[in-house]
């Protein structure tokens, strides 16, 4: 089923492992799993949340002027070419009352729910990306992508202050008890999108799907049998398992129903994980671009580093890890270096924005058809608070946004969840309450 055609650069380059991996595409690539709802007339909306840890140094981020006349701070300056599609949001809080700490910072960022303090179990809320993915993810092969840079398993003692490490390792929550692991391996992301077959041969791909479906049928029957053996109160985890089986089953069915045809891009699988932070981050952004471009997913979250990250940005000539830098205690060089990290992250994101804008999508560019958030879960990392989170929104919103180039300041104490609520209603996932929302946030300036 060919729904829309678009021209794609013949070769896309993904950098990784210090070498250049060429990704030759076939001409005129068409999305493999586009559903019938996608027509050239109504382009699909892509939603993304890019997260940076340990807050952002205020002076580097927040413009003093509100409205269309706001000034470009060091961070925002990186996005100067996209100013007309940039909305800076201020005054939004992680929580209505004072709450603090890293696990709450990332744990509440997209959920608006104060996470349960426990090592043994997790309880948070459904995150806004996942609430959106229930709508936007219906048509795509992958309902949402979760990306990161660090391998959480390699960090022992990552559980912080009595909170399970899940709260700092992810910002995506499928259910209040189901944190979604973020993927740091480019190859795993690639395989999720394009399958782990060794050829992109559509026949082989279909055969693999049929096989996977037989296996899933088996698993599903086995799980039902197991559930029958268990008492009602013991079924939670196994029920979750069954849900996961069904979800994967339905996605395979969808993929089978819209045959991939020969237009599937011929892409090389990345091998290994780039050792340099920058190469790694760029490679992940490039994979995200591919996923949006091929309409294989419309929702993503990407943690440029996990909350509480102790990464040392040696490429900026830093020797202190990021987290202690942000506890700057007013010491000038720490503020300086923490700010350098902030600007650097914005710069990497700017590269992604440029690629999104350079990629045609229907009647516009991918960036035109996106709403991308960039921000942090802490207002002031030095004293661990979540007031006035740094948040910005970029992209044209596929016709849902009428303008950008504005700094909107919300009344002090407005929960970020209010904005999530409004956003969900804006993109067609209507809801009346989200996390700790107290009502919808006013979007009249931009929609």
């Amino acid at each position: 089923m060919m729904i829309f055609r678009k021209s794609i650069p013949r070769r896309t380059f993904i950098r990784g492992l210090g070498a250049t991996i060429a990704l030759p595409f076939l001409d005129g690539m068409t999305p493999a799993f586009a559903g019938p709802l996608d027509t050239a007339a109504k382009p699909a909306l892509r939603l993304g949340y890019v997260y940076v840890p340990n807050g952002i140094i205020r002076e580097r981020w927040l413009p003093t002027k509100v409205g269309t006349d706001f000034e470009m701070t060091d961070c925002l300056q990186q996005w100067a070419p996209f100013r007309n599609q940039l909305t800076v949001l201020s005054g939004l809080d992680g929580g209505p009352q004072f709450v603090g700490g890293h696990p709450r910072g990332s744990g509440m960022y997209l959920t608006g729910v104060d996470p349960k303090k426990s090592l043994n179990d997790v309880l948070d809320g459904v995150s806004v990306d996942q609430a959106a993915a229930r709508e936007l993810g219906k048509q795509t092969q992958v309902d949402s992508l979760q990306l990161c840079i660090e391998d959480a398993a390699e960090i022992a003692g990552q559980a912080l202050g009595g909170y399970n490490a899940a709260y700092t390792n992810t910002i995506s929550w499928r259910t209040p008890t189901q944190p979604l692991a973020m993927e740091y391996r480019p190859r795993a992301v690639f395989e999720r999108l394009f399958g782990d077959g060794d050829s992109m041969d559509p026949e082989a791909r279909l055969a693999r799907m049929r096989r996977d479906r037989s296996v899933l049928d088996f698993v599903s029957e086995e799980t039902t049998r197991l559930l029958a053996d268990l008492g009602a109160s013991d079924q939670t985890k196994v029920n979750e398992f069954l849900d996961a089986v069904r979800d994967v089953e339905s996605r395979i069915q969808r993929a089978e129903a819209s045959p991939p045809s020969a237009d599937l891009p011929q892409v090389e699988r990345p091998i290994g994980v780039p050792s340099a932070y920058e190469d790694h981050a760029r490679l992940m952004f490039d994979l995200l671009l591919l996923a949006y471009q091929g309409d294989m997913t419309r929702v993503s979250t990407f943690m440029l580093a996990r909350e509480y990250s102790e990464l040392v940005y040696t490429n900026l000539n830093h020797t202190e890890p990021h987290h202690p830098l942000t506890h700057h205690r007013g010491v000038e060089w720490r503020i300086q270096q923490a700010g350098e990290v902030n600007v650097y992250h914005c710069k990497l994101f700017a590269e992604f924005l440029a690629k999104m804008r350079a990629t045609p999508d229907g009647d516009g560019s991918l960036l035109d058809h996106s709403i991308l958030f960039y921000g942090a879960g802490m207002g002031d990392a030095d004293i661990h608070n979540q007031w006035n989170l740094p948040v910005a929104m970029l992209g044209g919103g596929a016709g849902r946004l009428k303008r950008g180039g504005i700094h909107i300041q919300y009344p002090k104490g407005t929960p970020f969840a209010n904005f999530h609520l409004s956003l969900l209603n804006l993109i067609g996932a209507p809801t009346e309450q989200f996390g700790n929302s107290t009502g919808p946030a006013d979007l009249s300036a931009i929609v």
Binding site: D121, Q146, R192, A244, D247, T319, E320, I383
Partner: protein, 807 residues
Amino acid sequence: MKISVGCICGVILLGAACLQAAQEQSPSSGADAASSQYRSVINRYCATCHNGKLKTADLDLNAADIANPGKAPHIWEKVVTKLRFRAMPPDPLPRPDEATYNSLVNYLTTELDQASVVNRNPGRPATAHRLNRTQYTNAMRDLLGLEIDGASLLPADDSGGFDNLGEVLSVSPVLMERYLSAARKISRLAVGNPSIPLDSANYPVSPYLVQGDRMSEDLPFGTRGGVAIRHHFPLDGEYAIKVRLLRTADGYVLGIAEPHFLDVRLDGSRIKLIQFGGEHLGRTAGADGLESDFQQKEYERNADAGLVVRIPVKAGARLVQVSFLNERSASEGLFAKRKRLTLQDALPGANDLQGSDPDVSRVTISGPYGARGSGETASRQKIFVCHPSGEDEQSCARDILAGLARRAYRRPVGERDLSPLLKLYEAGSSEGGFEAGIEMALQGLLVSPHFLFRIESEPSRMPPETAYAVSDLVLASRLSFFLWASVPDEPLLRAAEQGKLSDPAVLEQQVRRMLADPRARNLVDDFAGQWLLLRNVKTKTPNRDVYPEFDENLRQAFEKETELFLTSMIREDQPVPELLNADYTFMNERLAKFYDVSGIYGSHLRRVDVQDENRRGILGQGSVLLLTAYANRTSVVQRGKWVLENLLGVQVPPPPANVPGLKEKGEGGLGTLRQQMEAHRANPACMGCHSLMDPIGFALENFDGIGKWRTAENGAPIDPSGTLLDGTEFQGVTELRQLLHGRPELLVHAVTEKLLMYALGRTLEHYDAPAIRGIVRDSAASDYRWSSIILGIAQSTPFQMRRTRPL
């Protein structure tokens, strides 16, 4: 401000209010004579804050009946924990004397322990406990004889101290996709599907590793540099092994001015000796300052292009060894010619080209080219217990799958289990024949909830909240996931199937057998790696300017030292307190130099007596000292916290929100670090915790941020003195160690707690405390040896029993 339970920070702020409230207290009535003296101790020292009015830390000790502590164990266990470390009452409130402390603790624990026998509460680990990534990986090794890289197949698991906690391990669709694809790859590899396509694997070597010596036990003598890799070759066929050498920042291959020999081996036999380097295709850059000409530059950029070996390899896991022939005699020393590469040097510049030695930067193994069949791998031998000829395919498939399912599901399997697997087998075999059918059934088996979940289902018709002994099969799984992080092996499973495991003698015999098994190294790799945070040694990035001595070799030696040390502790069944006090460790030349020990040569770590009192035990080891420091300085707080939480079992709460750190007006402007910390501690909100952590951290101040001994910092002498909460004064790491070693039950208690949490895969609750005390008490007779603690856990109530569903 809300004070979290167990937080002693901020308590001081309430001191005045507490004292005032104390005068309004009336002694509680109804206590019998035996307990009235304790009532008055509580009233005098505790209830001034922890009363019905103030409820400090949510604790009302007036309402709690001290005559019957067993009626409110959740309250009194909390009290015991605080008193054990003398953490309460906080300074400057009056404290009881040692005798009173001891007698109150004794009274409470005796009462609580007695009550726990009458009213057993073994807790309730998750009914469906998902295997985590480590366990899945180990299970593949034990079930299928397949060494897989779990990290490349499955996402990481979330950790609450340990990453095996059942309540946390959930299954999302993303994970399901990964399970599906992992099972597809694994079943294909295990069966040796002849259509396995060409693939390549990269094995990078850190540029910060100085390759000046023989790099590993797995590399031949007389070699220098390189790497030994365990690689799984999926099929009989040809494979290419390609070696990339280290380059300068601008892309020139290092160390090719002179000829060298690269030695490539497979399982110890040399495949090829390749000569390279020393070619002069044109003008070479020289002392005259002129650059190389074009041809020579091309050569210098691509001098490693010929380092490829293509050979037929038999399928299976094999050792690929790549190294350089060492053309110099040992007497020239470690880094005779090669400019020593440290973190400070980063990547060498182009001018290092002359006179340095080549280093391996990456090995890539690709293949199979022209596969020639499945070969005879360990996996195939494990799987294909029969080979059908003609009509008996079905019954052979049944035998194979019955065996695999029994081990994978960790229980006897019946027709209910087998017929769905056989259905999958038929679907596969109808398309691709017998082996394809087995492969398909195996793929299904590896995604089956019976494999992925450890199920501890309850006996039917048992009333809620009842303690019951788990079945032998459940016990077998508990044991194997505890000691091996893997599925039970045949002898253990058989003992359980025969119902013998509940026999204490059989249990003990099995535990001892399992501890002696190589798989028990899991206790070091997985348990201790998480308990002592040793995994983090890998992630540390010491500042190159401050610690020029630090390089990858030192990091690896640190890791290896502690790994060998812990392995020897457990393997030799040493007393647990020897962790602190052992008079031996493991060193190679690099490490010995760092520790100022002479007479150790070569890269191989061997057992060495520790002469320096300050280096005895784990507190003197570089790994621990490095992982508790910042990149450019030590951290008394992190070190103190590490000792408290991991060696003493004291949970240090996080700093309260919104308390800013010290304002340092220019670093060092306020005097020494100690003075700054003391000023910090003067803040009442900080004092409660820091008065616990800091003295311990200061005792370790003689070790710098990478663990090097020092007596002064920035010209000022180090003052490693400190005072513990009970008033004991000490001087430096040796006295701290002696103090801790003098109260072995503290360490043993902490180790038991951590081990029990790991063993059960759940966080511990107040009702587990009597079991822990019992294990510690009983193991005293065996000098607290590791086996007595581990056996104690295997025999304990929470391990042997389970509680039914809540009401």
